[in-house]
Symmetry: none
Subunit: 282 residues, 2 copies
């Protein structure tokens, strides 16, 4: 069964019924526009080495299924068979609560940067708290682009030699998988509420949960739609970076489902004022 | 210059005179009877990723030099050029003080077993104490044989999934190199835990700075003032908790000065719409 969320729709996507609770706590490995089938196969092997099983592919360059991916995976071919395919990154991560972007190059964005070790511990904790997470890995040649990275809560970077920083796609997956397995013994500290340190110690947040990506995407569409009407997002050439910055702020705050509803209300309230007076703004 | 000790003699062999003290503290990566030139090249890349430079080859199957090794190494080809070639494992490790054998399968031998993490720390300490160390990696198909392993002080094993334990030769080198670099005392990313604490060094903040509380307070007043006009913050008894929640979200995002200006702009844009149409909202 494939889980395909639709970005922009306010929809809670159910996970596949066959996914066990143990697997549910695992991060999804999301290969974004992977180029070589061999690398997909090797990435699957690296996942199998460390017990990761949730492989997702966004628009693989050579289509799907891919015989080379299957052959290269060898004993991990079952992960290739199970892989879920998506047309967009937004769809691939729609039901996830926390998303990392693997990139060696921190861009001109304000994002938390995690090492594989701290990323594994962070995702382990969030898994204990019932959150679902995933990691975006970019195409071999170019890596993730800024729009991909803007969808993530934080950046995952391995501490490589700056003079020789190139890691292959399967190697990047391997290093995370290795730390993921090492973090098995990390204890649950209770509810995770975002990046707010003290909350990690176990402050209960009643009646809410981390927002899903689909909920956030719907908020973004709402807010940006209203801002478009005001002309705030002009000139057009600046709109992509402006919306990316706004989205990044929401990702960084670790928004809960309640937070998203609050913001939907705020945007609606501010935008509604003129309508209440009978005005109409196209 | 090649350093070739004689096996069986407890003799301290001097390192090559061109080797710097920093390199002297590095473990040698000893590929024992490697089969594929490509894997030698990939292993060299994995070394370069983490600043390891002492590559030694024992009886490479396809002879030496090896064009495929050179090509696969890409930017790390200098390590291939520098590699030292030996006829036997004994010769390759003659001047070393402490040797690990990388094998996924602990044999019928009483040997200390180290993870990549503890191995890196162990070798780092020994390097500080002036000892020279090395790690044996076996042929791709069969791995190290018992005679090779018997030469080592301890076994290096990565914590892989027992159901899928096969690591490629370059992957095994990569995992050790990764831990080697992590074990540098002057590090690295360290544990990054949140936006609010000392972890701020983990966040890349381009061209801006964290917002001051005064800037945030001004934003709150602006936003709440506009929301009051819309009736969003009613009933009055709920206003304190509603504004607290909104303020908390901004605190959690670790807002920068630029973020605050963006939000001031958003609030102004949304609130201005009716005025642009000539409406007046009290």
């Amino acid at each position: 069964m494939k889980v395909k969320g639709e970005s922009g729709k306010r929809k809670r996507v159910q996970s596949a019924p066959t996914v066990s609770p143990a697997v549910m706590q695992q991060p999804a490995i999301v290969l974004v526009r992977p180029q070589l089938g061999e690398n997909i196969g090797f990435a699957a092997r690296a996942m199998a080495n460390f017990g990761l099983t949730d492989l997702r592919l966004v628009a693989p360059r050579d289509g799907w299924p891919n015989d080379k991916a299957h052959a290269a995976a060898a004993g991990a071919a079952f992960l290739i068979d199970q892989a879920r395919i998506y047309a967009s990154v937004e769809d691939a991560i729609a039901e996830l609560n926390f998303v990392l972007a693997a990139t060696a190059r921190p861009r001109e964005m304000v994002k938390l940067v995690l090492s594989p070790e701290s990323a594994a511990q962070e995702l382990r904790q969030r898994g204990h708290a019932g959150e679902r997470s995933g990691i975006l890995f970019g195409p071999e040649r170019s890596g993730l682009d800024n729009d991909d990275i803007a969808l993530a809560d934080a950046i995952l970077t391995a501490p490589v030699n700056p003079d020789f920083a190139s890691l292959s796609l399967p190697q990047a997956v391997l290093l995370f998988g290795y730390e993921w397995r090492k973090s098995e013994s990390v204890p649950s500290l209770g509810r995770v509420t975002g990046f707010d340190g003290p909350a990690r110690e176990g402050i209960a947040i009643p009646d809410t949960r981390p927002a899903t990506r689909a909920e956030l995407f719907a908020l973004f569409e709402h807010l940006e739609g209203e801002l478009d009407k005001t002309g705030f997002l002009r000139p057009p050439e600046k709109r992509p970076s402006m919306t990316r910055n706004i989205r990044n702020m929401f990702h960084r705050m670790g928004a809960t489902e309640q937070d998203v509803r609050t913001w939907r209300g705020i945007v609606a309230a501010l935008a509604r004022r003129d309508k209440a007076k009978g005005g109409k703004v196209s």
